[in-house]
Amino acid sequence: MTTKIYIPRDSGALALGAEKVATAMAREIGLRGIDVQIVRNGSRGLYWLEPMVEVETEFGRVAYGPVKPSDVPSLFDSKFLSGGAHPLFRGNPGEIPFLKRQTRLTFARCGIIDPGSLEDYETYGGLTGLRNALSMAPEQIVAQVTESGLRGRGGAGFPTGIKWKTVLEAQADRKYIVCNADEGDSGTFADRMIMEGDPFVLIEGMVIAGIAVGATKGYIYLRSEYPDAERVLNEAIAVARKAGILGKSVLGTGPAFELEVRMGAGAYVCGEETALLDSLEGKRGMVRAKPPLPAHEGLFGKPTVVNNVISLASVPIILDKGATFYRDFGMGRSRGTIPIQIAGNVKYGGLFETAFGLTLGEIVDDIAGGTATGRPVRAVQVGGPLGAYFPRALFDTPFEYEAFLARDGLIGHAGIVVFDDTVDMLKQARFAMEFCAVESCGKCTPCRIGSTRGVEVLDRLAKGVQADQQIEIVKDLCNTMKFGSLCALGGFTPYPVMSALTHFPEDFRRQPVREAAE
């Protein structure tokens, strides 16, 4: 029997040398003349172990990592093909505590299957949700999604079912499903991982969405920084088209649905749904005023569902196992699971999918194992560049939408970036303003001008010039941006700035820089 070796082609693994490992493995297999098949899977999301190579043995899968090309001959010598002992031996990957503690619903297959194999996808439960959906009325599908409690995973947390219902009820000759894959927030990579590791789940989710609301065309708007995801998605779409999942009639019995990947061109603001729609239409990515909602007048003025990758990829499991199954995970009004992305200065970085409700402290100290540098954790930015910086004092905050909001923060796309005690919070606040200034679409004044003024004021603070006055100006500026901006870019930039100022005030009181005497 052919032995299977799994070597990830996830770009995180590639960035750590997975391609060279695969080449070395293929070479060694050739030299030894043995019957081994290399499968290029996605990543399980344990990035400190990447490239993590897995072998299918008679006792199930066994992992080795992090593997360097120079480790390859010794792995074969240690009989790793039958799970032999080696310093890189990690045992059954499912038993690694970081993975064992997770509840993987959306990411159930990610890192396990060959992302290009529809057969693998079906073997591991894929397409069951779609088949169920095909036997239901559109209203029933929408009701399932509503009852599951699924909220937009892109950051806004808007109930997905309500959005779908609005589009279903809208009358039009044409409707669209748009997947927001413009994952621009630093500290987030869940969209990338699922697109590279299990693209069919996103395709299935979008097809279900199309059937539910009566849309026949879907677009995945993908950021240009993700060329590997583009390749995997396009391969998967071609396979899905051939298998009749996409085309004139979904699986031969459903309505028509077509799907296309469209690439962005490096504009953070295009992650905002209305700017994204303008960009898809071939315009500058300018934010639109709402109303009209995209659900009424979206892409090309037609009713459009705009959902994040993870929201759509969570739909198949809901239609497969039912709304109640999904809703039973989580806490409060945050139902189901959330793929937390643990990033930055951490010992164990990666993807941790779990029910809502863990505290920030458990995630940072316990699961992430503290900092990679071994220094104390000082600040954690939750929710990307527009998310607040949390100090240790707020580590008891449970990871869910409302709890973070109550503490002037947001969970956003659920990325957390950990900083050790060398971080300069004034510098981080300045970066937030600078980023907003560079990426602002320019439509509204608070965002366009406010961010530039913000950089200037924080620069004066850094020089210790009239600290009290500058701090007052920063607060006033943040207030104007928060309440006067059209979208979340200008509206949420105050979160990192104000949280840095509130929780780390000592960093904002600098000694005045004395001018050099001439």
């Binding site: 987030t188 590997d228 960009s279 315009k283």
Partner: protein, 157 residues
């Protein structure tokens, strides 16, 4: 060396024709041109405008909006270094400083010998293996001094 105007237009027209009848064709066209030339030559603007029945100002407005659409040819290699928060938390600023020194370039510049262009990028989705970079489309994680020197050697070769 920049290609001649006629050369540019003859290469661009098939890309325009491939997309002109699709929905929202402008970004796919510009992305195609970017892939072909590594930048968006100013000369293509009137041709695209005419094909899509847009004004030149509209097309130029789109070209100038997106960071990817360089207006000048890049070096033989393009190095994009992530400057966002997750990479900052792992010493990204120091690596940025080091690479600028090694290459003798500031962000946004192309080496005089045309070997490399250095650009900032805001997140490559490699935040659990920071600091990260992308060299000619290939991703690199956990950048350190050794990897920075290796990159500098490679792009100069």
């Amino acid at each position: 060396m920049q290609p001649a105007r006629t050369e540019i237009l003859s290469a661009v027209m098939p890309i325009v024709d491939q997309w002109r009848h699709e929905e929202g064709p402008l970004l796919p066209i510009l992305n195609g041109i970017l892939r072909e030339f590594g930048y968006v030559p100013r000369e293509v603007v009137p041709a695209i405008a005419e094909a899509l029945n847009l004004s030149r100002a509209e097309v130029y407005g789109v070209v100038s909006f997106y960071h990817d659409y360089r207006e000048n040819p890049p070096g033989r290699h393009v190095l994009k270094l992530c400057r966002a928060e997750a990479c900052q938390s792992m010493g990204g600023d120091a690596i940025a400083e080091r690479l600028q020194n090694l290459l003798g370039l500031k962000f946004g510049e192309t080496a005089a010998d045309g070997s490399v262009t250095l650009e900032p990028v805001y997140c490559l989705g490699l935040c659990a293996c920071s600091p990260a970079a992308m060299l000619d489309g290939e991703v690199i994680g956990r950048l350190d001094d050794e990897k920075a020197r290796e990159i500098a050697r490679e792009v100069r070769a």
